[in-house]
């Protein structure tokens, strides 16, 4: 600070005397900042390495045929991942089927139709939704939604569908905020042009704005999938935790399932460290890491770090 004022007062010469000490301080600070930036890459690498260290043995010790088998039965050391994969897939597909149309329509409303004062109310509300802890939504799914679904005629209220509904709600903020970004990025001239040649607002949205925002919407869907597949607590509480593959058919969504995430959360507390079961749970972690890494790397290329913020549902 003294250097700074003396420079302005008497010119560059006076500043030089105290400069070296200051430079060392700045050199340290600037390098710490650089280090902080690079640390993010190191952390991602460390996460992968630690997963590999604890989970790698599972892929070496369990024969591939068993790993892709249909039985998850840890008590007998049978670790077939298929039921868990199917469980995650069912719940995720269900969630995305519900959340994508709703989220997209909401984004269209926010971006194209709603007057500013409504936007001022709706955006914070959606951010609030993004902030509700998953355990609270899981709890509500458990005490309120599951009984509703059971009363509607399902054998149990704890089904893949229950999980899908809760998950759809949880991934809505991500989908809404990223698709709204995509709509916002469409140049205003496109809309003006369409309206000027006599198109109605709906025609403009449907034929001009949406096609122009296509790639951004695809990313919104991808990140929505990434969010749904990784959700743990709410899903664990409402999907019934049955590690078997429901009979194929339209009714399978109303069967209890168990996802990859829920399996880790439910079983890790009870396994002996270093056992095959322990390694396999980390192995499931590797599978989850790889899936979400692929989704985010692909999407992140296009939306950049903004995506990190939008994933939290920030508008």
């Amino acid at each position: 600070m003294t250097t700074n004022s003396s420079v302005t007062a008497t010119g560059a010469g006076a500043g030089k005397e105290s400069a070296p000490r200051l430079r060392i301080g700045e050199w340290i600070i600037e390098n710490l900042i650089r280090l902080a930036g690079l640390s993010t890459v190191v952390i991602v690498a460390l996460i992968f390495l630690f997963l590999l260290r604890e989970g790698g043995p599972a892929f070496l010790d369990i024969p591939l045929r068993q790993l892709f088998g249909v039985r998850w039965y840890p008590i007998e050391d049978i670790f077939g991942l298929l039921p868990l994969l199917v469980g995650s897939l069912l719940v995720t597909v269900g969630a995305v089927t519900i959340a994508v149309p709703l989220g997209l329509i909401c984004a269209i409303y926010l971006g194209e139709i709603a007057p500013p004062w409504q936007r001022e109310i709706l955006k914070p509300l959606i951010e609030v939704l993004a902030g509700i802890p998953s355990i609270v939504l899981g709890f509500l799914g458990w005490v309120a939604l599951a009984p509703l679904i059971q009363n509607a005629g399902a054998a149990t209220g704890l089904t893949a569908f229950t999980g899908s509904v809760i998950l759809a709600y949880m991934s809505l903020p991500t989908i809404i905020s990223i698709s709204e970004d995509a709509l916002y990025a469409v140049p205003k001239e496109y809309r003006d042009g369409a309206l000027a040649i006599g198109a109605t607002q709906w025609q403009t949205i449907w034929r001009v704005v949406l096609p122009a925002a296509r790639s951004g919407i695809v990313i919104a869907v991808m990140l929505g999938i990434g969010r749904a597949i990784g959700e743990t607590m709410a899903v664990m509480m409402v999907t019934g935790n049955a590690a078997n593959i429901p009979a194929f058919g339209p009714g399978m969504i109303f069967e209890p399932v168990r996802t990859m995430t829920a399996t880790i959360a439910a079983e890790m507390g009870e396994v002996a460290q270093g056992s095959l079961h322990y390694n396999t749970l980390f192995g499931i972690g590797i599978v989850l890491f790889v899936i979400t890494f692929a989704i985010n790397s692909l999407a992140g290329r296009i939306v950049g770090t903004r995506g990190a913020r939008r994933q939290g549902g920030n508008l």
Binding site: N4, V7, R34, T40, L102, S134, R227, G230, M268, A299
Partner: protein, 281 residues
């Protein structure tokens, strides 16, 4: 049906779907409030659970969540803000910067349970912190990095370029410019990121399952190497693991957790809005 009618119909449909999506958000909050408010009392907040959790309060869990949230703040925010300054002020548009950005996007997308696994493997076992507040805070700290970094970076980058140019032209060094010109103006935005990070840390369950959370501990923790109860995990325990649990206590616990997390989210929104209003450029 002519196109004007189609237009009206489409807009009406879009509007009603948007309402259909947003109204349940408010309903969820009101529902928890309505069912939980009857349980909230001074005793509920300040007493430990008793009679196998079926009576008493939530004090140890609440305290644990406060400890974990502060631990997260201390451990992760200096790093997050450093990274944000680096990305906004120092990073050139090159390969390594792109890698950093990719890393941040991926950190945001990694499932919270995978953070839990990492915390278990790295902090609890490898670094031998045991299941402890330290291990839990470190895990939560890493989990909150992306949201804090990206919010803070946006705030720093939105400070007008002229501020930097003028400061540098008066002879200030790069760091002096950042320290005295850029950061003060970016402070509200950085604060928004920090508060959002705190809210995230307070509400997460999966990352603390194997790194810190205790099923039941009547006494508060004595050091950062102790386990602690935590509110989100406590809600999980009392809603699924304890048979015959009175609903009132469950809703009351959910309400307290929701209140903490939502006040942080709203505080962040408030700071950001008032910052936008006050901005002079």
């Amino acid at each position: 049906m002519n196109r004007q009618q189609t237009n009206r119909l489409a807009k009406a449909l879009i509007t009603s779907v948007a309402i259909l999506v947003v109204v349940p958000i408010a309903l969820v909050i009101l529902y928890v409030f309505y069912n939980g408010i009857g349980t909230i009392s001074w005793e509920f907040i300040t007493a430990p659970p008793s009679n196998g959790m079926r009576e008493g309060g939530i004090w140890p869990a609440l305290l644990g969540t406060i400890f974990l949230t502060f631990g997260t703040a201390i451990l992760s925010f200096p790093l997050a803000i450093g990274a944000a300054i680096y990305l906004s002020e120092y990073a050139a548009d090159n390969r390594s910067t792109r890698m950093i950005r990719l890393a941040i996007v991926n950190l945001a997308g990694i499932p919270s349970i995978v953070y839990g696994l990492f915390g278990l493997g790295a902090f609890v076992l490898f670094m031998q912190f045991g299941t402890s507040i330290l291990a839990g805070s470190l895990t939560l700290g890493i989990l909150t990095l992306p949201v804090v970094i990206s919010t803070a970076e946006e705030a720093i980058a939105s400070v007008p370029q002229q501020f930097r140019t003028v400061s540098l032209s008066l002879g200030a060094t790069r760091w002096q410019t950042i320290r005295h010109q850029v950061l003060p103006h970016a402070l509200p935005g950085i604060l928004t990121g920090i508060i959002l990070g705190l809210g995230r840390a307070a509400g997460e369950t999966a990352p603390i399952l194997f790194t810190v959370a205790a099923f039941y501990l009547p006494e508060p923790p004595q050091s950062i190497f102790d386990q602690t109860m935590a509110l989100p995990y406590h809600l999980y325990v009392i809603s699924t693991q304890v048979p015959g649990m009175p609903l009132g206590i469950q809703y009351g616990t959910a309400l307290v957790l929701l209140f903490i997390v939502l006040s942080l989210t709203l505080a962040a929104t408030f700071v950001r809005t008032s910052m936008r209003r006050r901005r002079e450029w």
